[in-house]
């Protein structure tokens, strides 16, 4: 186990280096001069010159990469030109929001997705199954922003039960926080639930037709125990990988959903930064989320150990 863990950890360093070069390199391919984009409507030549010098825009690419990477190694991700805040501070400000939204969305996705997947596999070819499939298709094909706006119109404008958008810190008012987050979390969770449902269903169908499940049934075990304890546990392995990947994606920010519900998470931060060519913010956030993503993948691999005894051998 410890050797495996070390091996996996060792791959993280070159991966992150590669990611940092990629982020930096790809950003240079973006058309548009950041100094012009950031100089505002007036585009004063003096301001443009200042921005070029401040962000080393006139220097060769490797030198610029070095400026950035050496800062990163010392824990300094730079500063947003647009709003003059350190990128680290911006990330720390958005991180709890993004984590909460991702976690709530994941809980909703797991609850709906796994339940619907199990029910649909167990009640294969019944109305339950068809219903769950229709739900999955709907979840996958409904655009987030459209569902978001519909939910706002229904629950905020018509019924007045929930706030239309915005974010309140849970430490300020937990109730207000939950009511502000439930709609965006549902919108995000709904789409992931559909994917999880399809995967759970196929994994369950495969497991339910396996020999050991037949043996368990032949032993006279309660159907509930067979499904939940014997079948589901094995079927969960691919779901864990999928869940971790989806969670990682959620942590990199949900652009449209955050935009519609005005949730100040990574998605909004990065979109604004891209459009305003606020390079250091884009680089900092992408590098951070890439690190989180890689770490989550590592954790998912480790989680196999806990659910799959064969891997411990």
């Amino acid at each position: 186990m410890s050797q495996y863990l070390l091996r996996r950890l060792a791959t993280i360093v070159p991966t992150l280096f590669f990611v940092s070069v990629l982020i930096f390199g790809l950003q240079q391919l973006l058309p548009g001069d950041p100094a012009i984009a950031l100089a505002g409507e007036e585009r004063d030549p003096e301001t443009i010159r200042y921005l070029r010098a401040k962000f080393h825009l006139d220097e060769p690419l490797p030198v610029r990469y070095w400026h950035w990477a050496s800062g990163v190694l010392q824990g300094d991700l730079g500063e947003s030109v647009r709003i003059q805040k350190p990128v680290t501070e911006l990330i720390l400000e958005k991180l709890p929001v993004t984590i909460q939204l991702a976690a709530m969305a994941m809980v909703i996705a797991l609850l709906i997705g796994i339940t619907a997947g199990v029910v649909s596999a167990v009640k294969k070819d019944t109305w339950w199954d068809y219903g769950a499939n229709v739900f999955a298709l709907w979840g996958l094909s409904t655009p987030n922003f459209w569902l978001g706006i519909l939910l706002i119109l229904l629950f905020a404008v018509e019924l007045g039960w929930l706030p239309a958008s915005g974010y309140v810190s849970p430490f300020e008012d937990l109730g207000a926080n939950l009511s502000a987050m439930i709609m965006p979390a549902f919108v995000l969770g709904n789409a992931i639930a559909a994917v999880l449902m399809r995967h759970t269903r196929s994994a369950m169908l495969q497991v339910l037709s396996s020999d050991y499940v037949r043996t368990a049934r032949a032993k006279g075990l309660n159907e509930r125990v067979v499904i939940l304890k014997h079948a589901l546990r094995n079927a969960l392995i691919p779901i864990i990988t999928l869940g971790a990947l989806e969670f990682g994606t959620l942590l990199s920010g949900a652009v449209l959903t955050e935009q519609v519900f005005t949730i100040p998470g990574f998605g909004k931060l990065i979109v604004d930064a891209v459009f305003n060519r606020d390079y250091l913010v884009v680089q900092g956030v992408v590098l951070f989320t890439a690190t989180v993503y890689i770490t989550l993948n590592l954790l998912a691999d480790l989680a196999y150990f806990l659910v799959n005894p064969r891997m411990r051998v």
């Binding site: 058309p31 505002g40 409507e41 200042y50 805040k85 706030p163 958008s165």
Partner: protein, 497 residues
């Protein structure tokens, strides 16, 4: 007992504490008047930072931190009398020394966006604590108007010195509200400044600005009662709002413009296309357009057709160059004379839905005269870069506007203007622009602008199309709103009934 009294007092204040929640269409950039660059940032500054002068509903310049002014005989010095007893949010005095500090900061600070606006200022003198003298290298008529915007905003010198480049993260000014917090992309919170010089006009305790980019969501927030006021309502939402008695709509013609900039000489590309090469083709293009219909169809009627850098009602609108009527026959004839009956060109447009609609209507109209207009929808920052390099034939772009006409004209049409994407440079126009800047007399300025308008209408570096309406919606409980054409939400006098 003391505790009880305190609790009661607290309860009473909480009940009376009133918050005004304003929905903005974008997230502002840095909150430092010297470095700020966005239109939306100016809306927040209206609550935070007072200026030497302000504008009224008719665009007249009125004193704010100043009480009066006087030009020297040669118009090369402006003497400004300051309001006494004004303090910044940190308790520092807002006096002549502070004004000198601020104007010098605007001029000299690295990364200042105000340098161009104050380029003509040669020095600033403190005459006495309540009088400041601004010396100019040459007479400069737009100066007062410039001081009604960010260049006229005064920040606390002590805080500016202490915070340096970080000032924008916790700005200290002398406006009606002081800065509390900003969470990027989420909200900016201000609270009442108890020592504000004009506190009788302030009826809120807190102001919360929330950037909500999507117009539908912004409106949903107003409808659900989460916001009291929203700016830039989508024109298509106006009819439904008008039928809802819970809300009021305010609108006013902007001081900016929307138009099509044509590459005349920015790069070699200009001369490769009949549109850039031949003035007759440009005239034909303009004659193919029906501005009333463009506004009606693409803007739901929520804009004012126009053909100059200021709206037709403006004092400085050149009356000798009125809006040309659509004339397809004449347009076809001009194209025939130019030897290109079916010219083709590409129009670069931003990706916003407004721009797309306008571009499509323009495309359809121009087609009637024989034009083949190709729409090249381009992400904004990229389009700016292409425009700067002259890599375009026509570019649909607007300008948020400045109070003085010079601010809408000089940077786009003077030879060395930083946003002169057309590459337009004509000696007589250049001389007239200089004349309009250096003459203080309104009539002489209007005469110069009239001549510029006539020449620009012949050359067409920019085909001006319309001036948007600033569309605001707010709860019917809010009163005292002043609709000033600069689109700023002034908090003085606003009250919740």
């Amino acid at each position: 007992m003391k505790l009880l009294a305190f609790a009661l007092l607290f309860a009473v204040t909480s009940v009376n504490a009133q918050t005004l929640r304003i929905g903005l269409a974008e997230d502002p950039d840095v909150l430092d008047p010297t470095r700020a660059r966005t239109f939306v940032g100016r809306i927040v500054f209206a609550g935070l930072c007072d200026k030497l002068f302000d504008l009224d509903e008719k665009l007249r310049i009125v004193p704010q931190l100043a009480t009066g002014y006087e030009w020297s005989k040669d118009n090369k010095a402006l003497l400004i009398k300051l309001r006494s007893g004004v303090t910044f949010h940190d308790g520092e005095k807002m006096d002549a020394a502070a004004v000198k500090y601020n104007l010098e900061r605007h001029k000299n600070m690295k990364g200042s966006s105000r340098r161009g606006e104050l380029a003509v200022v040669s020095s600033v003198e403190v005459v006495d604590p309540a009088t400041v003298k601004i010396n100019l290298a040459a007479p400069f008529a737009p100066l007062l108007a410039v001081l009604t915007d960010r260049a006229g905003m005064m920040v606390s010198p002590k805080a500016a010195e202490a915070l340096g480049e970080k000032f924008g993260a916790s700005p200290v000014c002398s406006g009606p509200f002081k800065f509390v917090e900003r969470i990027a992309q989420d909200r900016m919170v201000l609270e009442r400044f108890p020592n504000y010089w004009n506190k009788g006009e302030i009826h809120f305790d807190r102001i919360v600005y929330q950037p909500i980019v999507d117009a539908t969501v912004r409106l949903a927030n107003l409808r659900s009662g989460q916001l009291d006021f929203i700016e830039r309502v989508a024109p298509s939402d106006i009819p439904s709002l008008r039928n809802d008695s819970r809300f009021r709509i305010a609108k006013i013609v902007e001081i900016g413009y929307q138009g099509i900039t044509i590459n005349l000489a920015k790069s070699d590309l200009a001369q490769k296309n009949p549109l850039g090469k031949d003035a007759r083709v440009r005239e034909a293009f303009e004659l193919s357009l029906d501005r009333d219909a463009i506004v009606r169809v693409a803007m739901d009627g929520e804009a004012q057709p126009g053909n100059q850098w200021v709206a037709p009602a403006n004092l400085y609108y050149g009356k000798s160059a009125p809006i040309p009527k659509r004339n397809i026959e004449r347009a076809k004839q001009l194209l025939k004379e130019a030897g290109v009956p079916n010219p083709s060109f590409t129009m670069m447009t931003p990706t916003t839905s407004d721009a797309q609609r306008i571009a499509q209507v323009v495309q359809a109209m121009a087609k009637d005269a024989g034009f083949d207009v190709k729409i090249h929808s381009t992400e904004f920052a990229t389009s700016l870069n292409l425009a700067d390099k002259g890599q375009f034939e026509a570019y649909l772009i607007g300008w948020s506007g400045r109070a003085d006409p010079d601010g809408n004209l000089h940077t786009m049409l003077s030879c060395k203007g930083p946003t002169n994407y057309a590459g337009y440079c004509k000696d007589d126009v250049e001389a007239l622009i200089t004349q309009s800047r250096t003459t203080l007399d309104t009539e002489s300025r209007a005469a110069a602008y009239d001549k510029i308008a006539q020449q620009v209408q012949k050359d067409r570096p920019i085909i001006y199309l319309y001036h948007r309406h600033w569309l605001w919606a707010h709860t019917n409980k809010l009163s005292g709103l002043r609709a000033v054409p600069d689109g700023m939400v002034r908090l003085q006098g606003l009250k919740m009934n």
